[in-house]
Assembly symmetry: C2
Homo-oligomer: 396 residues x 2
């Protein structure tokens, strides 16, 4: 699954604060928010023309730390396999930026941040946030780095929704876009899984309408939410491969302890998540995903009208959370708007997680796409030329 | 979806108590349980030869009340569409029996029943129960009704697992078997969804290690478990048809109230479930499903060795919880054992719920199958002759 390449080495998270009150950042809900801080990291160097910047956009549980190592830590950033010298996003060529989303809990302004009006954490006083709000905040960060036009925006899952929102909100500020395993709008099954996660959090007696900061955390509810999520990130086949019906006995057999490996895995993932994630951020961010709907006020043909960026849409065959038909709809919207778009469906059994795991195929696709996108605005479609392992098809 | 036919009219639940201590009912875990009560209902009349009895087996949340109306109630039993005069299980021909499973909470012995040793509810003192234990208890009920050989055993989902267990445990006591939307063994994805439900219940601070009887119930956790279940019973497509992204605003928009119809539906289903189901029963019954594995101690060819009953296996195309490949494996096991088995895959968008909803197709299939199964032990395979709506295929 790896594709070679080196590490960007030691990195640090930085912070950009803007939108001081009273003006603040105008939000889609009509309210404004300020000051806003975005945590971000950069890898590689911005060229003198400031034309080699690639913005990486993270998924629900991601953060600004996409690559390299923080001081004293051994686990690299969440997309280290894709970002570094010689990797898919080659830091010898590109200046890669990643920021924690607005509403997050890893250094950006979110429900755990201090409300300047009260001096206490926002909790549910934080206004409702949308994918558009996240992208508007990112655009301020990009401006602050002196970048007028991004070479590319890239991201999977909720990161892909942000890519699509960039294509709509800032079509003149991107040259290329790579939405991966994502959708133009959240469908009811996707909303339903998120809603179960939210209900699990809000059912936790420690949640207290979101005012739990300084007290016991709604960890059990958040762990259940994460467990639901993890099932949807895998596939029936990948679970069968990874776990089968192998036993892992802890406690009295059958007495609702951990009988099967798959149970142990889910509990572990749930328990480790609550150490690093804020339950209220989970509520705000999943709601932003559920409210995402680029077709709400536009017909399919109008979504990307006027966009001149080139687009590479990637989907995964076994992804049932963001099924391939949703990626094909993105391609269709591009084609209807005359946008130069390619579609690649990678034949993986990993389910939705594939966007983090199918590194070799993604590396080939993205390296080639970025190379032609920089060299030539009207090159051939990339998806058709990659290795035989990849069933690439051009959707018309 | 309906298929005509009449109602069995007013019905009453009855109770059969057996296995008095100290002997009790021997359980698969090595312990014994007694006394055991099974709640059951019957519809139609047993013929003088006692050869027309059909045992209906219910799914996770079902009960003995499969058809007709209880005094003062307006909602008929859970499979009323299939059971009645002229219906799929025609009560003018057949004597239909349905019992609440061992471990249940609708009149059969389960965790809420009184432990004779303590005078208090069993709670988690109840031994671990298996699908085999459920079937062993049912076989005692069937004996008590004077029936040596059942015409057929029929059930979907967990009811289908009981059908398969009957085929293994009591091959000489059934003439026909109809396992619907089920599996020879629970796969890790199925275990994972059950485990999330159990974790949601056990995360509820009212659960108290199962000793909540007489106090506040772990209703929030059980509601979350039911919500997870409901998502898995539907399909991406059926949810899109039923809800789309239609809004149902209650409370401040976006503030984690009910924004979308699908959210309102899930909350409603969760909330109504907790009024009729015991959380500990949910734990015991899901664990019995997760432990179900007819291949644990046998090769596929040996599972149904010696079975002379005829078998009709039904699956649904959009059922992703119990996918069709699992039903095909049942058929394969039958074929390898020389059992006369037919396979029908109904082209439905309802997902797993289809076994309760695709009444017309099931009626045709089951009526025809039972007719030939009673007339002739070696008739043609039924699945191939039904209406064009049904894509029937004989798996070899």
């Amino acid at each position: 699954m790896t594709a070679g390449g080196g590490s960007v080495g030691p990195v640090e998270t930085r912070f950009f604060t803007f939108a001081e009150p009273p003006t603040g950042l105008p939000l889609e809900c009509g309210r404004s928010l300020g000051p806003v801080t975005l945590a971000y990291e950069t890898y590689g160097s911005l060229n003198p023309e400031r034309s080699n910047a690639v913005l990486v956009l993270h998924a629900l549980s991601g953060d600004a730390h996409a690559a390299g190592l923080h001081d004293g830590e051994k686990t690299p950033g969440w997309w280290d396999d894709m970002i570094g010298p010689g990797k898919g996003l080659d830091t010898e060529k590109y200046f890669v930026i990643c920021s924690n989303v607005l509403g997050g809990c890893k250094g950006s302004t979110g429900p755990a941040s201090t409300n300047p009006r009260t001096g206490r954490p926002y909790g549910l006083e934080l206004p409702v946030l949308t994918i558009k709000d996240m992208v508007d905040a990112q655009s301020r960060l990009v401006e602050s780095l002196g970048i007028k036009k991004l070479l590319a925006v890239v991201g999977g899952s909720m990161g892909g929704m942000q890519v699509l929102q960039w294509m709509v909100s800032y079509p003149d500020r991107i040259r290329a876009a790579i939405p991966i395993a994502t959708t133009l709008k959240h469908a009811p099954q996707q909303i339903a899984f998120d809603e179960v996660g939210r209900q699990a959090i809000m059912a936790d007696s420690n949640w207290k309408e979101g005012e739990y900061y300084g007290g016991p955390l709604p960890s059990k509810g958040l762990a259940v939410a994460r467990m639901v999520g993890h099932i949807t990130y895998m596939s029936d086949a990948s679970m069968a491969e990874k776990f089968g019906r192998r036993l892992k006995s802890e406690g009295e057999p059958g007495k609702f302890g951990t009988d099967f490996e798959v149970e142990g895995y889910l509990r572990y993932r749930g328990d480790s998540f609550v150490k690093r994630f804020d339950a209220n951020s989970y509520l705000y961010i999943t709601k932003a995903m559920d409210n995402f709907d680029l077709l709400a006020e536009r017909r399919l043909a109008e979504v990307f009208r006027g966009l001149r960026a080139r687009v590479l849409v990637i989907a995964f065959k076994s992804d049932w959370l963001y099924p391939a038909y949703q990626s094909k709809e993105i391609v269709k919207a591009c084609k209807l708007a005359g946008v130069d778009a390619s579609y690649c469906e990678i034949d993986s059994t990993y389910g939705h997680d594939a966007f983090l795991l199918e590194v070799e195929e993604e590396t080939h696709l993205i390296q080639h796409f970025l190379r032609t996108a920089t060299e030539n605005g009207h090159g051939a479609r990339e998806g058709e030329r990659v290795s035989d392992e990849i069933r690439a098809q051009n959707h018309t």
